[in-house]
């Protein structure tokens, strides 16, 4: 039995039992479904995307109030009552709720998501509180009393008034949403979403607009909440601001975290646990403590602290591990068709592809780069060397769009790149690796490499959710596998990237850069941590790439590696270029010897020069 069979068995069992369950259980299940829908959005946001929101309850509220207002307001019925039949009003309410939620979420996201991560949750706290105070005071929405008389949803003349019939719809919607989200995560777009958590600089260098992805994930979570709110309003048939309060928003987050914020089924587990627990606690605690009030929040908070300290990934991974013993892993199905990825032609050999003119970078009083000039031509390997602290890494950031130079010019493919983000560099054909390896350690090696080919795919979120991206996805994965094999790591494609040795992880980064079909390759200490034979293999690979016409810039400390490989060498010291030329010229340069060996006495220095020659 595979995981998929188990899921299907669960769905079938639930459907079969639905007609026989007592009314009370059906109602509880319907609410669990509603909450799980919201929690699933939070899983995407928190566990996968590395953001969070305490304001999901308010998004549920905007979905619920939108439909309640459309269905009950005399203003609306006066405006469209003659044209639209009453049975259609809930659907107009759904559309209205989605539009309103979309606008609010997009606005909040656009403002906060380009800032560092903790501003979004703080903003959602403010939004959650404001929503409660606002809707509690708007007279046309019933103030704190709320809106009564929300009609049931009617489909083809069949009324979904009872929890038993609407509950079925709720679970249908939930399961469909889980399926779509699962598909989304298992795609090119999913890889980019996963990179939002802890890999933004890297993802930008692979051409992913992480700010935009963050907004989209946030909007997606908000829309799921609004959908839940729409169903809630037509289940409850009456709404007031209380269930959309900040406390409930926090409860939704508890569900996602306790269940397992990185796993879609964790949302269902968390929603079920918290809902059932809350019911028990509301029964027991007031009797135990001798007064009434929301005491369950004490238990929830302590439970949350315990889970965060002891099971950082929530309870689902534990459940899955226990269950995993009895399941066999699914075999990936072969795609029916595959397609050819676009490849831009490389520039002619000898043409300057990357150029830095008088690049200067100051950090306060410290000049990290002082008027550095250098260029990289197609079909050559240019090495940048210099002692520790010479400003190589800063320079690397300047020519890859991670940071802006204070003055000077960076040109890529003969285009001025001042102020451009690193994804613009990637779009012009620049691929790079990082000095401190930036891989998603828990994801498989091949997924990491495929992220490098991100820009070569086109399919978007909707296509991914509906599995219309399989041919392209197969092509991307095949490309990733080809680059991995080329770099000699084909056998490790399916292990987690974090389990490889550091030297191998560096090579995975090279494969990832190559998957993007770059014209310029920036390698930051690629040979560090490699053994002798691995270094030789790397040198062969770089030689091959040079022959294909790539322009390669290497920062490296291993002099033997550099001097045997590079066509030209530039030497930095204290942020300034002190020498440039062929490896032989640079080796003979007394300034370089001085920089590397310190201020030695004249005779000793001569002896060293003699040795080098």
């Amino acid at each position: 039995m595979t995981r998929r069979h188990l899921t299907l068995a669960f769905v079938v069992a639930l459907a079969a039992a639905w007609g026989f369950l007592p009314d009370f259980s059906v109602t509880v299940l319907a609410y669990i479904g509603l909450y799980a829908l919201v929690a699933a959005g939070l899983v995407m946001l928190t566990g996968v995307g590395g953001m969070t929101s305490f304001g999901q309850a308010a998004f549920v509220g905007s979905g619920a109030y939108a439909t309640a207002w459309v269905c009950t307001s005399p203003m609306v019925s006066a405006a469209i009552g003659g044209v639209v039949s009453p049975a259609l009003l809930p659907w107009i309410g759904l559309l209205f709720g989605i539009v309103v939620t979309f606008v609010i979420a997009w606005g909040l996201g656009a403002i906060t998501l380009r800032l560092s991560g903790h501003y979004l949750p703080l903003c959602t706290i403010a939004w959650g509180l404001s929503f409660y105070f606002l809707f509690g005071n708007l007279e046309f929405l019933g103030g704190h009393t709320g809106v009564a008389g929300v009609p049931p949803i009617v489909v083809a003349g069949f009324s979904l008034a009872s929890p038993r019939s609407l509950g079925l719809v709720i679970w249908g919607v939930l399961l469909l949403a889980l399926w779509a989200l699962h598909n989304l995560l298992d795609s090119r777009e999913g890889r980019a979403i996963r990179a939002l958590k802890g890999g933004r600089v890297m993802a930008e260098s692979m051409g992913v607009d992480t700010g935009r992805y963050r907004i989209k994930v946030f909007v997606l979570a908000a829309l799921l909440a609004a959908l839940s709110g729409w169903l809630y309003a037509h289940l409850q048939r009456f709404i007031n601001p209380t269930p959309f309060n900040l406390n409930i928003g926090i409860e939704y987050l508890f569900m996602a975290v306790v269940g397992g914020a990185g796993h879609l089924w964790g949302a269902v587990l968390g929603a079920a646990l918290i809902t059932l627990l809350k019911e028990q606690l509301q029964d027991i605690l007031p009797r135990l403590l001798g007064s009434s009030g929301n005491f369950e929040v004490i238990v929830f908070g302590l439970l949350m602290l315990f889970v965060l300290q002891r099971f950082a990934d929530g309870l689902w991974p534990t459940v899955a591990r226990l269950g995993g013993r009895f399941l066999r892993p699914a075999t990936p199905s072969e795609p029916r068709s595959t397609l050819v990825l676009p490849e831009t032609a490389l520039p002619p050999r000898g043409q300057v592809v990357l150029q830095a003119k008088a690049v200067t970078k100051r950090f306060g009083g410290l000049v990290a780069n002082d008027a550095v000039d250098m260029d990289v031509k197609a079909g050559e390997i240019h090495a940048l060397i210099g002692p520790n602290g010479a400003g190589k890494s800063t320079f690397f950031n300047m020519i890859s769009g991670v940071d802006d130079p204070t003055s000077g010019e960076v040109r890529l493919m003969d285009r001025q790149m001042a102020g451009q983000p690193s994804r613009a560099f990637a779009a012009l054909g620049l691929g790079r690796t990082f000095q401190h390896v930036r891989l998603l350690g828990q994801r498989r090696v091949i997924e990491n490499v495929a992220l490098g080919a991100h820009r070569r795919g086109k399919r978007g979120w909707i296509a991914s959710m509906l599995r219309l991206d399989r041919a392209e996805e197969a092509a991307l994965l095949a490309q990733a596998r080809r680059q991995l094999e080329r770099c000699g790591l084909g056998e490790f494609a399916d292990v987690p990237a974090g389990s490889l040795a550091l030297g191998q992880q560096r090579v995975v980064e090279i494969a990832r850069a190559l998957a993007g079909h770059p014209a310029v390759l920036l390698l930051d200490e690629p040979a560090a941590g490699l053994r002798h034979l691995e270094k030789r293999a790397l040198a062969t690979l770089l030689d091959q790439l040079r022959a294909e016409g790539l322009g390669i810039l290497v920062v490296e400390h291993d002099m033997e590696f550099v001097m045997n490989l590079a066509d030209r060498v530039t030497v930095l010291e204290f942020g300034a270029v002190i020498a440039r030329g062929t490896p032989l010229e640079v080796q003979a340069n007394p300034k370089v010897l001085d920089a590397y060996l310190g201020g030695v006495d004249e005779p000793a220095e001569e002896a060293l020069v003699g040795q080098a020659a």
Partner: protein
């Protein structure tokens, strides 16, 4: 609105703004030193105010039992860590888990303070050690987690403390007597002694904090930790110490704020949350990093609240909390390059 009303509202705004300013200072301090976004900051406000109320009614404030329970739990955790071979700083542990709780118990149970001053000091003695104890129990095991995880811990802790607040103090609100019954008439505007006390104490605390961070070696160590955690540790500044200290300071500031505001407004078990959040709005103005900007933000929040309570009192919270949207938008204009989250 005439000038007189404007002056009264302005005065209200300054007094409330002073309290929000204190909250903001504590939040910036805790965040910059420990990366914890300390949502439960406001709970100290309510706990200290309601503890004084209990003392005045001749009851033992339940916060004392909370303190003792946390002290025992923290001591147990330290013992367990010590048994498993972790390095435990026993001097600070004994201080926070034994000495301070004993002092607080002695003050509450043996001395049974009668005067307002002694009741105030007793409340401080009960509330201040809560800060480091909560830090040790809730945050320290996760000291290396992301800002996001620490924020979720904060929210969970807030839930626990608000629930306990309801259990300890009930749902009814209370006020405490003013520290000063003075009333001044300044050009037709009545100025109460209590609002002068609030502003004066706030100013004194700000000056004290400035001196502490600029002049004392411990204050400098905290600042060093805020600027570079790893670097500070390499220089021999223990991370635990900076955590304990910043949380103790935050608790002290919260407790003082509670004592200051309790005579001016009715305090409920959950009042602190909103006060703390308004402090956040102020702190966000300063990017959670700048103390002076946070104080400016606090004054803006205070004024906005005072004047919106006059024009649209039902929506004053909405105005205050939506203030962060233009502030964040303005901040986002200056950030273009992405950075990895810590």
């Amino acid at each position: 609105m005439d000038l007189q009303i404007a002056l009264i509202l302005g005065q209200d705004g300054i007094v409330n703004g002073a309290i929000y300013g204190l909250m903001a200072l504590a939040l910036v301090l805790v965040f910059s030193v420990t990366r914890v976004i300390f949502i439960p900051q406001g709970e100290f406000v309510a706990f200290s105010a309601l503890s004084v109320v209990a003392l005045q009614a001749g009851r033992v404030p339940a916060t004392l039992w909370l303190l003792l329970a946390l002290a025992v739990a923290a001591l147990a955790v330290e013992l367990w860590r010590w048994k498993r071979g972790a390095a435990v700083d026993w001097a600070s542990t004994i201080a926070w888990c034994v000495v301070f709780p004993l002092i607080a118990s002695a003050l509450v149970l043996l001395l049974r303070p009668e005067s307002l001053l002694m009741q105030t000091l007793t409340a401080l003695a009960v509330i201040v050690p809560l800060g480091p104890l909560l830090y040790r129990l809730a945050y320290r095991p996760l000291a290396d987690a992301t800002v996001l995880t620490l924020l979720i811990v904060s929210v969970a802790l807030h839930g626990v403390l608000v629930g306990l607040g309801l259990l300890f103090f009930g749902a009814e609100g209370s006020r405490t007597p003013a520290f000063s019954e003075l009333r001044l008439d300044l050009g037709g505007v009545a100025i109460t002694g209590q609002s002068l006390v609030v502003v004066a104490v706030t100013a004194a605390l700000v000056v004290l904090m400035f001196l502490f961070f600029e002049r004392s070696i411990v204050g400098k160590a905290l600042r060093a930790t805020a600027i570079n955690r790893v670097g500070a540790r390499l220089m021999g500044i223990p991370t635990g110490l900076s955590g304990d200290l910043s949380f103790a300071l935050a608790a002290a500031i919260g407790a003082v704020s509670g004592l200051l505001i309790a005579p001016l407004t009715t305090i409920y078990y959950d009042t602190g949350f909103l006060i703390g959040l308004k402090g956040f709005v102020a702190a966000i103005v300063g990017g959670l990093a700048s103390y002076p900007l946070a104080l400016v933000g606090a004054l803006i929040v205070g004024q906005l609240e005072a004047f919106s309570s006059f024009w649209a009192s039902a929506f004053k919270e909405v105005f205050v909390f939506t203030l962060i949207i233009p502030v964040l938008w303005w901040r986002s204009l200056s950030s273009r390059h992405v950075e990895d989250e810590e």
